[in-house]
């Protein structure tokens, strides 16, 4: 039992080495640089429309959020029950987004 425990612990440590930390940092930096490239070059030059640009920003933001939560906050290496408990709860946020943006669009049509 004790041996099993230390083994598990060692495996947990191996998941976030210094190298891995810097790798995630460069991913985050690279994605942010890409967002700036879209905002300061592609959109002003008219190569990409605002709609597609916004879609790209949101997707890139979610990718960044994944890297921060999964690696920096270590959630990827937690037990399945904890991972699911946290991630599935976020469905309330998705629901609220749909609800409120629909409401906003309705107000745009009927109150302006």
């Amino acid at each position: 039992m004790a041996a099993e425990h230390t083994h598990e612990h060692a495996a947990e440590h191996a998941t976030m080495t210094k190298g891995k930390i810097w790798q995630v940092f460069f991913y985050l930096l690279g994605i942010t640089a890409l967002e700036f490239f879209i905002a300061l070059y592609l959109i002003p030059k008219g190569m990409v429309s605002h709609g597609i640009g916004n879609f790209a920003y949101i997707v890139l933001t979610l990718v960044k959020a994944f890297y921060i939560v999964a690696y920096f906050m270590h959630l990827k290496f937690e037990k399945f029950a904890l991972k699911t408990g946290i991630v599935v709860s976020l469905i309330f946020i998705v629901y609220f987004i749909i609800l409120m943006l629909t409401e906003g669009s309705y107000m745009y049509l009927h109150m302006n």
Binding site: K18, W22, L40, I68
Partner: protein, 229 residues
Amino acid sequence: MSTTVSPLDRVKTGAWNGGKSPFEVEYGKLMMWFFLLSDAFTFSAFLIYYGAQRFSKVSWPDPDVVFQSIPGVADHGYPLVFVGIMTFILIMSSVTMVLAVEAGHRNAKKEVVTWMIWTIIGGLMFLGCQALEWTHLHHEGYWWGSFPASYTGVDTIGALQFANLFFTITGFHGFHVFTGVLINIIILCMVLFNVFEKRGSYLMVEKVGLYWHFVDLVWVFVFTFFYLV
């Protein structure tokens, strides 16, 4: 006498039978996760309200125009540069925090101290940048309930909502950074006084780390929805 145990008397050891914890994380760390989940709901309520307002208005201030100065260097003409610096500082401080956690796993007190100090410096730099930005926008005429006179007619409705929500949401985030820095300083002192050395585990650094990364996570969303979209 038989030594076989009947199925009913056998001790259950499964994760959901009370044999062991299904989450296998320490109590305080689990509670930090639950707190962060509730905080995520608070921040998303703010940002979703911002989205709903933005959807409902005919016009909205252009972020490339509002945020185009580098306080103390240039008054206009550099959209997104200053906020880019702020974002870099916060991501960097998240990296130093995770390096402190990593050092804590190895019980390397000296390294934990170094990385915690860098994290605190990063947090203070971010707060300084935010203070500069707020001051600059305030001079331009933005504040709770007010906006520059350059907005006229129907544009004033969106500008008012933008100003209110910008200061409320970045203010709430800045308050989180501020408390994060305070908690980091407390933990740094505890490290220096050998509290965790005696306890035999630097798990507390990990719990504060979770909070600090969450603050960084929120900034990623604030940055996208206020400065980019």
